[in-house]
Symmetry: C5
Subunit: 162 residues, 5 copies
């Protein structure tokens, strides 16, 4: 974790006005806690379909080394394919810019109780904030956690051995 | 809102002959009301599959800083995948041109009553016209509305806190 | 309509050997009737998955200003995703070449009676031939028909007002 | 057919180790029979998801004018989307290289009886081999067969007239 | 097999922290066993959506001639489209870099018993490690196995003849 704590790069956070949870605040707080010397740039857009270009702008114009993109997904009606479109856009951005974009979306139906949903989102964003910082600071450090069944939004499932 | 009212950039509106609602007129009126100094360029195409190239032309040939693309989606039969194709095209246009394209499509089945459908469309286009103007004038202003559960076509759902 | 009748550009027609209806003949006849001075280039390929490259060749090698692509879609078994693939390819071609490609595909199951299906196809191709000519001659002329609920393959549904 | 018989270009064949039918042999034999002067380059890959890059290599490194890509599709479980991914990849290859790639895949469930499936595959590959040769030798020759309801893997359905 | 055993190129392995099985270890051991002179570069990312950029980095920055990408797919809830997105990203990487990326993903539901699932994964990764090495060392060697119904994760189904 030393390499994250001392990291001096720049990270981007993308969030949306559509989300009912203030995802960027969770991400901002966690990144500051984990890596106080990292610079943060933030870009808020209407919905997740607008996030790919925001990621690209943070990388190309703001020179962020990695971006954490957050947002809420609605899985009903016309919204069904929206996450797929956003993720494909984010994929292209990564391959155009050669920078990792870590996606931390949540579906408002992942839990019926609001407090449970909130906890899922906090857990996911915090863990993905750490992932984004590791990819920014020292990608090879993730190898220490390879195949461990890590989860964001719930407990790790652990490694399965025979 | 000051930055929108005084904005002097150029915005594009794309609409279709397929739509049964005159979406561009709603957008035009709202943009003129909100930002009288913004220049507007309009491009009408047959259907939403033709909108991505129209967006690209407004950005590259007409030098629009942002585009609001409107249109009606039919979700039956052969038409089912059409919105997905259009949105992917619009995604590529954004990543090719580095300009935001705000999508304000509606599905003719969102409401059974015509007057209700019309109201949804008006609400969505007006709110997305404001989004497009903010992205044109001062993207960072959207951060004031981050995570507030904003909706276009219905009431905002608000922020969920714990 | 004057701008179409006097148009002197070049239009491409793409068709397939897979189709059971001679779509190109319908398109050719209509284009000659509407705009006798327009030059026509035609490219026949096996199936609709082969049409995107044919469109690109007509635009880049034959310098067509617009292309009308026709073909039959079979919606059963392995064929289900074929139209989606073709349309995505056509989308990329448009964004690569900055030229409109108007798609006039039909699904063999749109009507059970063959004569009814034929009438649908004729109506769709004729109307899209006119759309392609307008986009070739004077794109802004389509604005006169914006939001009018125009349909290809059936009667226009008209505009919905409140 | 004269133009095919005397064709002197170079054609590529892509096949897979996944397929239970030796598709390349069928293609090789048919191409040699139809156009003995055409040069053939072959590239075998593990599965159909590996075929797009093989097509690209045959076109760019081996300078094949057209490629016939063959392979077996399994439509169960995780394999369901594989054909779609391969076909999209093949679409991009065509638009990157400006060369036709004719796809002759089969689904192992197209027929329950193995001998019937084999006959379907032979019919499809032979007819698509001829298509690929025509596109290589003289694309415009396909116009003679436009709208004739040609099929690969079964009898032609013929043209529908009214 | 001689060409694999003596191969001196460089291969990449991509794996994830999400997987509950340590896929990279299986791949590493098999590659060292089969081709002790091949150099190996490894890149661990959070989940399979992050793998395309990792593949690209191994090819472009680490100059790997081929990459074997491993990972676990969850087919429930929001995760359903994730494999499709990853595979499309991997397709683009291959066509951007002209290098093969061999995909060895597994779905945690392929077997109910954990030991059976583990065996499937070991079998698949070992066989695809060999495929990747063959593509690295001598692509044409795969032609000896063309159309033999080879499988990864289960027994080969063999060739079907008539």
């Amino acid at each position: 974790m030393g390499e994250v704590r001392n990291c001096t790069g720049r990270i981007g956070i993308v969030d949306t006005t559509f989300s009912s949870i203030d995802t960027a605040s969770i991400a901002l707080k966690e990144i500051r806690r984990l890596a106080s010397r990292v610079e943060i740039r933030r870009y808020t857009v209407p919905g997740i379909r607008d996030t790919p270009l925001a990621c690209k702008a943070l990388i190309e114009k703001e020179r962020c080394g990695t971006v954490l993109v957050t947002g809420m997904v609605s899985k009903k009606g016309v919204e069904k394919q929206v996450e797929h479109q956003a993720v494909l856009g984010i994929m292209w951005v990564q391959l155009q810019t050669n920078r990792h974009v870590v996606t931390a979306f949540f579906d408002e139906n992942e839990a019926k109780e609001k407090s449970k949903l909130y906890n899922i989102v906090v857990d996911r964003i915090r863990k993905h904030a750490l992932n984004a910082l590791k990819l920014l600071a020292m990608p090879e450090s993730l190898t220490d956690y390879a195949g461990l069944g890590l989860r964001q939004g719930s407990r790790d499932v652990g490694q399965f051995r025979v």
